[in-house]
């Protein structure tokens, strides 16, 4: 009987009182269109393609992002420019399928594809959700300011031979190592 009174009366009254005290608490709601929420810099939002510090496209069209994408929303085709650099002929992201998981960013070996803290991407036409390379490419380095894939890699392109990369030793003539 005593426990019944304790359970049915006292604890209920305490609950009511504690909830009533929330009358004086501030609401947690952020009134979004009037008041912008604070977006953290690592927030996974709209995808961009960045450029290296020299202003060239970082993307080397390796297709790793398209492979990593769980919803297959990335499509691209490799091309090669006169200097021997690889670059995407087209790069297409279908944002109506994209789930902003960030796997493409993790897969990217050249820090080209990056997610930004922008989420206001609503469109009236479904086709407008498909973004081409011109829409995705930005004039900046994104989150990584100093990285340039062709400067550190051993790949030979026009104007840079093998062994001329950053922190790269000149190639060894293996025949000279023969006994």
């Amino acid at each position: 009987m005593l426990t019944l009174i304790k359970d049915t009366l006292i604890s209920q009254v305490v609950t009511l009182w504690k909830v009533f005290l929330h009358t004086f608490a501030k609401a947690d709601t952020v009134e979004y269109p009037d008041e912008q929420p604070h977006m953290f810099s690592r927030w996974r939002g709209r995808i961009i393609l960045s450029r290296d510090p020299d202003g060239e496209e970082r993307c080397v069209a390796c297709n790793l992002c398209a492979v990593a994408c769980p919803v297959d929303c990335i499509a691209l085709q490799k091309a090669e420019d006169d200097a021997g650099r690889w670059c995407p002929e087209f790069f297409r992201i279908n944002f109506s399928r994209c789930i902003m998981c960030g796997f493409c960013e993790e897969a990217c070996p050249t820090n080209a594809i990056q997610l930004t803290p922008d989420f206001e991407m609503a469109e009236y036409e479904r086709q407008d959700m498909v973004w081409e390379k011109e829409n995705l490419l930005i004039n900046g380095t994104g989150k990584y300011h100093d990285y340039n894939f062709y400067r550190v890699s051993g790949m030979k392109i026009h104007g840079k031979d093998k062994g001329e990369g950053l922190n790269e030793a000149p190639p060894v003539d293996v025949r000279s190592l023969l006994p």
């Binding site: 049915t8 009358t23 947690d28």
Partner: protein
């Protein structure tokens, strides 16, 4: 045309105010719930979101009013009308202020209880005619809950009736000129409050609806304005129970003279409406068998003891 109890003007005004208040409660409840849950609630449409009610009405009137082909059509259409009708009829005997009211019946308390019993038919028939297992479960629960909580709702009112010596609600209010009945009849007040929540099947006793278990209970198959009538009927029941508590235990329209009596009545009733919403915000729903055993094994003996003690005191003081 005179403005006296039972005049056309009076009836029209009370009907308009009661239905208007019941509609506004949609907004009040959502704002208060969100206040207690640290949210903001609907605050976009109109001033402080007041026009949300209009938006909701426009929406619900434009919804497809679908009658399931497998339902018992006549009863299905009848059920939501019953709940609106009986609750509005109950307002007929409530004295809002001196000169404001529809009828001063000398069996007012009994009339309210009778109408509450008829209200059980609405949810029962609604669930039965839907031919849906969840609706059937909901109506089973509603029938059992409303029938059993009516018992001690009535008994808890009897203490007040015994003190007044009249079933007339206006007499009950006038008898409280010296002191509100909440003090001598505190136990009766608490039992009436709990039974009132169960009668209007609002949270935490919304077991007939219990969204998490049985979809929406007895009104699962209802849509459009028929659902809206159940919805408004629930709010009307809330207003009715709050008004009854005000009349029976808190001196009705009586209060210090600086405000008109109607305002005092409305203010007191509004406090109880807010309290019912606080109950919804704070207390989780009990299990069905817990509700029934709590009613029959705890509240019924308690209300009988309350009536017995009240009767003993009245008789011994004569």
């Amino acid at each position: 045309m005179t403005f006296e109890v039972g005049s056309i003007l009076n009836i029209g005004a009370i009907l308009a105010v009661v239905i208007g208040v019941a509609a506004m409660l949609i907004w009040v409840e959502r704002r208060l719930l969100s206040l207690w849950q640290d949210r903001l609630g609907p605050n976009r449409v109109g001033w402080f979101g007041l026009m949300q009610v209009v938006a909701d009405m426009v929406k619900i009137f434009n919804k497809e009013d679908w009658v399931p082909p497998f339902s018992d059509r006549f009863v299905f259409v009848l059920a939501p009308a019953i709940i609106m009708t009986v609750i509005l009829l109950s307002f007929g005997v409530i004295p809002f202020a001196p000169g404001v009211g529809i009828a001063d019946s000398n069996v007012g308390v009994l009339f309210v209880l009778a109408m509450a019993s008829l209200g059980a038919y609405s949810v029962m028939l609604g669930g039965l005619s839907s031919d849906n297992k969840y609706a059937l479960l909901g109506s089973l629960r509603a029938a059992a809950q409303m029938v059993s909580y009516e018992v001690f709702m009535g008994i808890s009112m009897l203490g007040v009736v015994a003190l007044t010596g009249s079933f007339d609600l206006r007499e009950i209010v006038l008898a409280q000129a010296d002191g509100w009945y909440v003090i001598p009849q505190f136990v009766g007040f608490v039992i009436f409050l709990i039974a009132g929540v169960a009668e209007s099947h609002r949270l935490p006793f919304d077991i007939p609806e219990a969204d998490q278990e049985i979809v929406a209970g007895y009104h699962t198959e209802y849509s459009g304005m028929k659902f809206g009538m159940f919805f408004v009927g629930e709010y009307l029941g809330l207003v009715l129970v709050s008004s009854l508590i005000t009349v029976l235990f808190f001196g009705g329209w009586m209060g210090p003279g600086f405000l008109p009596p109607v305002i005092w009545f409305a203010a007191k009733a509004f406090v109880f409406i807010c309290f019912f919403i606080l109950l919804r915000a704070a207390i989780p729903r009990p299990r069905y068998d817990q509700l029934m055993s709590y009613g029959w094994l705890f509240l019924l003996p308690l209300s009988l003891i309350n009536l017995l003690v009240t009767a003993f005191i009245i008789l011994s003081s004569q």
